[in-house]
């Protein structure tokens, strides 16, 4: 997509979206008079397709809150001041300017918006599983802006996510980091300035050993972890040669252009553009982050070696269920880890997954995040992060960082999000209590200072039940049924 267009996408498109929702309200009735009957009808209802954009938070103050900053501890009774979508002030003594929209968070806990470092949300397609290397496919080509899952993730405090391909392929395709600006046009989901990425995958999914193959259907290469390595080395060997060809061409072309003599010969021929190899060259040149789906220690080490041989490093190993066994090697290779809290035993390669993984990797110096890989789990990542305290005794601050600042660092956006600090984007979750306490839930979620989720207007079960019947009979005490 066009970058220039994207940069102003948020404002231009949102302005337009606003215009449209107004148009839907005003234009439609004006159109009706062509039919006499319609003119007498009540005004048309608003378009059911309208996606009203929350008002921009020009000046917002969240007051009386317990603020868990993720970067500099907890402020017991503080205020966050948001100006033009950024955090302008945070602290115990912040004055609320006149005219600010005040969100009274008395008794509530405020955390940075949660960042999910492994998501497949808002996608129309996940795997181009027909080949094991599909570096050319781009997740942003399949993004969709209106799925319910985005709303539900917001309702769990999630404000940013790394949206990845599935793990069918050794090299799945180009990922995208999004902000959950639900309701805005699809380009506005994209987290501007986030480094580009690519999804690799190792192990059982790539081998397709757990896939039912129809009789007569050929198996796809690779079928072993050895073949996975070979597939990677082959792809990067081709990419290296491709890069060399382009380098040579650029040199020739420059020389040819400079050479004005009549005998300078035919203009050099550029190599064929290869969309599969372009992103791999970017990887080798450090311009694209590698996110590697991985389970076992052996395959993690394999990829570290392959990457070293081709002059790049793996940005993050995701799932990385045996990361606790090779944490030192990961640190040495400059790789981070993004894992499940406690998922295991769902397949053979997840058998030595331990719930202490996050804690242990962190102890060894790995930057660790806890991710969802699921539209469902994404809604309760705060509970998942607390499991790092339960298993392995991770300190509370670090557990919170595993779903905020650490994923921000992994995704290269920690200058923008991940903690409650002056100058950062006002991406914030407001909890009814301590985010790790059992009865707490998210009441409000803001991105860029805009309220994208508000429990008071949310489609709750309670609201649904009130619509269904006027009033339930008074509650009775619980009594034994089968006794």
């Amino acid at each position: 997509m066009n970058n220039a267009k994207r940069l102003d996408g948020v404002t231009a498109r949102s302005a337009w979206a606003c215009a449209w929702s107004i148009a839907a309200l005003t234009v439609l009735p004006a159109v009706q008079p062509s039919s006499r009957v319609a003119a007498q009808e009540p005004p048309a209802p608003p378009s059911p397709f309208a996606m009203p954009v929350p008002p921009v938070g020009r000046l917002v103050a969240i007051t009386n809150a317990t603020i868990m900053t993720a970067s500099h501890g907890t402020i017991p009774h503080g205020t966050i001041l948001i100006r033009d979508g950024r955090i302008a002030a945070v602290g115990a003594d912040v004055q609320v300017p006149a005219g600010a929209q005040v969100i009274d968070a008395t008794g509530k806990y405020v955390t940075p918006g949660i960042i999910d470092a492994h998501s497949h949300t808002a996608l129309e397609a996940v795997n181009e599983g027909t080949q094991s290397v599909t570096a050319e496919v781009r997740i942003e080509d399949a993004l969709r802006q209106d799925p319910v899952s985005l709303y539900r993730e917001l309702a769990g405090g999630v404000t940013s996510a790394l949206v990845l391909h599935g793990s069918a392929n050794t090299i799945g395709g180009q990922s995208i980091t999004i902000k959950l600006r639900y309701g805005l046009p699809v380009d506005s989901l994209i987290f501007q300035g986030a480094p580009p990425g690519i999804k690799f995958a190792l192990g059982e999914n790539v081998r397709q050993t757990n896939v039912n193959i129809q009789p007569g259907q050929p198996r796809r290469y690779p079928f072993t972890r050895m073949g996975v390595e070979e597939t990677l080395r082959d792809a990067f060997t081709r990419a290296s040669e491709y890069r060399t060809r382009w380098q040579a061409y650029r040199a020739d072309s420059t020389a040819w252009t400079r050479n004005r003599s009549r005998t300078r010969g035919a203009e050099p021929l550029p190599p064929a553009r290869d969309l599969e190899l372009d992103p791999l060259v970017e990887v080798m040149e450090g311009r694209r982050q590698v996110h590697a789906h991985s389970y076992r220690a052996d395959e993690i080490l394999m990829l570290i070696n392959v990457a070293r041989d081709f002059g790049f490093h793996v940005n993050d190993f995701t799932h990385v269920l045996e990361g606790y066994r090779v944490a030192d090697e990961m640190v040495a290779a400059g790789s981070t880890g993004s894992t499940f809290a406690d998922m295991w035993a769902y397949k053979m390669e997840a058998y030595y997954a331990i719930p202490h993984n996050a804690a242990l990797m962190a102890e060894r110096g790995v930057v660790v995040s806890v991710n969802s890989d699921s539209d469902e789990r994404a809604r309760r990542l705060y509970q998942e992060a607390a499991k790092a305290m339960h298993y392995g005794g991770t300190p509370e601050d670090e557990a919170l960082r595993m779903i905020t600042l650490n994923p921000a660092r992994q995704l290269g956006v920690s200058d923008r999000v991940g903690s409650i600090d002056v100058g950062k984007d006002a991406d914030i979750a407001i909890f009814t209590g301590h985010p790790f306490a059992p009865g707490s839930r998210v009441d409000m979620t803001l991105i860029d200072g805009r309220v994208f989720f508000d429990r008071t207007t949310a489609p709750t079960l309670e609201a649904r039940m009130q619509q269904r019947q006027p009033r339930r009979p008074p509650a009775r005490a619980a009594s034994g049924g089968v006794e």
Partner: protein, 459 residues
């Protein structure tokens, strides 16, 4: 899996010390058995006393500074002023809490080891639509590596169930310790597992109908559901007829030929053994209620994400509901918090609820499933009951399990706090009075790799 790890006593001890943390260090010497690695058979007659604890008996009021005395696998005494018997092993639980062991109302524990790619140790789903004579207990592996990982989170008793088809078989209520499945059993036959037919493709729930593929058109699904509902009704009619004939014919001469499946249905048809129905939608629940009316079944519902639609009916009819897992997404048009809020709605309407995870490896999270419900309207005290005394009542073992009362089985947990709180850790887990080792595949791996030396260059 790894014997070396299990035998390595020192390592495990060190690991446990690390886990327990500063607060409990003082406690350890008093209680430290000779080895924490294998469950120690308690010395007959010797008591264990947990003192200075906040005791939450679930039935009855909290005891701020109480003592629980365990003897011969049972709770011998509980109270504020209970004397410690002479010679008792004393656990000073100052600052700690004692709760009844937690229960998961629906798991596959012991029946499966690995979800995908290793079918060998999995015994979940028999072939055929009606398998009432299959007993889960037959296939429970007491040495499943998953069981200790669940136990260390305070889950002491679970209902483990076969899956799938229309009648999956008999579930078993088991304590999570024992040398044989029979030893583990609280109830070898706790209830017959049914799946009420459902058209697929609603909200992505696991409990779907018997074999509805995604490939079916809505029309085909409808036909299948009708066919299956009819088949189930016919089956129950046959079972009732068989049970009636059997009750009239006592001598073997006049008895009809024995049909093992029909034999297994007799206690269900007599209302002695519960009929546990896995359902989700209100339509399915209505179907179950209609069967209950026709055949006099003692019905327990499980799953039941849409039970809130019929909360008053279920309360009035005293139908208990084992909800969960709460870690599911509602269907797209449903309220965003429907799955979380459903348990609270049911409880407030007076329905007796319990929780289930419908999983083996995730069974350790049953209390956190309940915690999600408390964030969306379920009273925390009721949530605790739903993990303890309610399931005991639902399965008819309230005289043995589910609360801290003298005379009950000593399934107890000693914790640093509320078991619904993920941050809480377990200090002791007692099953039938036996202190369980905090030793499982995960703690072993943790301990081993925590002690991995920093990689050194090859000499």
């Amino acid at each position: 899996m790894n014997n070396a790890g299990r035998l390595d006593g020192l390592t495990a001890k060190a690991m446990r010390a690390a886990l327990v943390g500063v607060a409990a260090v003082a406690v350890l010497p008093a209680v430290q058995p000779s080895s924490r690695l294998a469950a120690q058979a308690p010395v007959p007659g010797r008591a264990t006393a947990i003192t200075n604890a906040t005791v939450v008996p679930v039935v009855g009021a909290r005891i701020p500074r109480g003592t629980v005395v365990i003897q011969d696998g049972r709770i011998a005494a509980v109270g504020a002023n209970v004397p410690v018997p002479a010679g008792a092993e004393v656990i000073d639980a100052n600052g700690l809490f004692v709760y009844p062991g937690l229960m998961d109302g629906g798991t596959q524990l012991g029946l499966t080891e690995i979800g995908n790619g290793a079918d060998g140790p999995t015994d979940l789903r028999e072939l055929g639509d009606f398998n009432p004579h299959d007993d889960a207990l037959t296939a429970v592996n007491p040495f499943s590596e998953i069981i200790p990982t669940v136990r260390v989170n305070g889950i002491t008793t679970v209902l483990t169930s076969p899956q799938g088809n229309q009648i999956s078989g008999q579930s078993a209520l088991i304590d999570l310790n024992g040398w044989t499945a029979r030893e583990m059993a609280e109830l070898p036959r706790a209830g017959m597992i049914f799946t009420y037919p459902r058209a697929g493709g609603g909200g992505g729930f696991g409990g779907g109908g018997g074999g509805g593929g995604q490939q079916q058109t809505p029309e085909q699904q409808r036909e299948r559901v009708q066919r299956e509902a009819r088949a189930l009704r016919d089956y129950l009619a046959n079972a009732r007829a068989y049970a009636e004939v059997r009750s009239r014919t006592t001598d073997s001469a006049s008895r009809p030929p024995v049909n093992l499946a029909m034999e297994a249905m007799i206690p269900v048809m007599r209302g002695e053994s519960p009929a546990i129905f896995d359902v989700e939608t209100a339509d399915q629940i209505r179907g179950v209620l209609s069967l209950a009316d026709s055949f006099g079944l003692k019905v327990i519902l499980r799953g039941a994400s849409y039970a809130w639609e019929l909360a008053d009916t279920l309360a009035a009819r005293h139908i208990p509901v084992i909800v969960g897992p709460t870690t599911q997404l509602p269907a797209p048009g449903d309220p965003y918090d429907m799955i979380y809020a459903n348990p609270g709605v049911l409880a407030r309407a007076g329905v007796q609820i319990a929780f289930r995870t419908n999983s083996a490896s995730d069974s350790r999270n049953v209390a956190y499933n309940a915690a999600l419900a408390t964030a969306y309207g379920l009273d925390p005290e009721e949530a605790l009951r739903a993990l303890t005394i309610n399931p005991a009542r639902i399965f008819g073992v309230q005289d043995r399990l589910g609360s801290i009362e003298a005379g009950k089985v000593a399934n107890l947990i000693v914790t640093t706090g509320d078991p619904l709180d993920v941050r809480t850790t377990m200090k002791y887990v007692f099953i039938r009075g036996q202190s369980m080792p905090f030793d499982d595949v995960h703690t072993r791996e943790y301990e081993r790799w925590r002690n991995r030396p920093r990689p050194a260059p090859r000499p």
